[in-house]
Symmetry: C2
């Protein structure tokens, strides 16, 4: 009748989560089009297209209103040209749904963007909790030399829209290597969303 | 127009959270009636009623549908008679709302109970994520000799009903010292909820 309470051990080095219900991986060849340097991407994919860039474990107790989904993201360190390994990124399919990310190990940034094109870049590391408010497109970037592992939590009726970024030619900013650190630079391929596209995002909210 | 993304450092030893918006403390004298041994409680309160039993930091970005509230709970170690220090406990005011708790430091248990009286006891410690499903009354207990610190996340339209436990004479089980560990024993004061009280809980759900 009632759902059963559960406990899950998280390994901060690998993101492995005990009793996780789901798992998926993204390999280099799955991520065509997200990096700015297409030539570097093609060369990397030809050499090691099977290479895992990130892996997600999650638990989805009930895909219904009012519940929560939680899990972990493990991201390998690496670059395509100057650009750090990153997730595809998404806005929630119901766009006014938030998400929390908590740093377990490694160093990275959360790259955030509103439908109107405002950008924020927030660093995440161990014991840092990043709050992604409703309406923000977000993508995780591993800016370190070690794996970046985070746990996350979001409402179970959020959903993911992974196409919003591709339709705009990427996010407004790219996170690239800058000496020992990182810098956010303008993405020359970015096309700001027009009023119709912005209205389409707001139409998903409740 | 949009809420601002935020980052919060969590101190695993104290539960302090940077940029927390709210904080409250519960002292021994605030917790009359929750422990089984009233004499031991009265003696402890006479001696040190100002003593902090637990402290909560939280961030409530928007108290509206679809958002999340997150924060930390810091619990001192201690006992009233044989019974370990614990939180008041609650069911969500909208009872079909879940919550996640993540162990930051220390050792404890989450004591859970359905309106119908089913009980679960789940251990929590560092890197353990406990999922409290919709409809479960829950209370945290510090069974260790060090502070118990957890971070938590729940839907912002959950609310808390703190009276549901008192109305039943406590929870069905009490967590008491047992040698170097803990045991869950029956609470002789517990009065199972009748059909009317159970219906009252279900009436809050959506």
């Amino acid at each position: 009748m009632h759902q059963t309470p559960t406990a899950h051990r998280i390994d901060p080095a690998t993101g492995a989560m005990s009793h996780a219900a789901g798992q998926y991986e993204k390999r280099l060849r799955d991520l065509a089009g997200i990096y700015g340097d297409a030539g570097a991407f093609d060369r990397a994919t030809a050499a090691e297209g099977d290479r895992i860039v990130y892996r997600v474990h999650d638990v989805r107790p009930a895909a219904k209103h009012g519940d929560l989904i939680f899990g972990t993201t493990f991201m390998e360190p690496g670059r395509i040209g100057d650009e750090f390994y990153m997730t595809r990124g998404h806005i929630h399919a119901t766009a006014n749904r938030p998400e929390t990310y908590y740093g377990e190990s490694g160093q990275g940034v959360m790259l955030l963007e509103t439908p109107e094109g405002e950008t924020e870049v927030i660093e995440i590391g161990p014991r840092t909790l990043v709050y992604v408010p409703p309406m923000w497109i977000h993508r995780s970037v591993n800016t370190g030399s070690e794996p970046l592992v985070m746990s996350f939590c979001y409402p179970s009726d959020s959903g993911q829209d992974y196409e919003i970024i591709a339709r705009a030619g990427g996010m407004a900013k790219r996170i690239v290597a800058d000496g020992e650190g990182w810098a956010a630079i303008d993405n020359p391929d970015y096309r700001p969303r027009d009023a119709e596209e912005i209205a389409r995002v707001y139409a998903t909210t409740d």
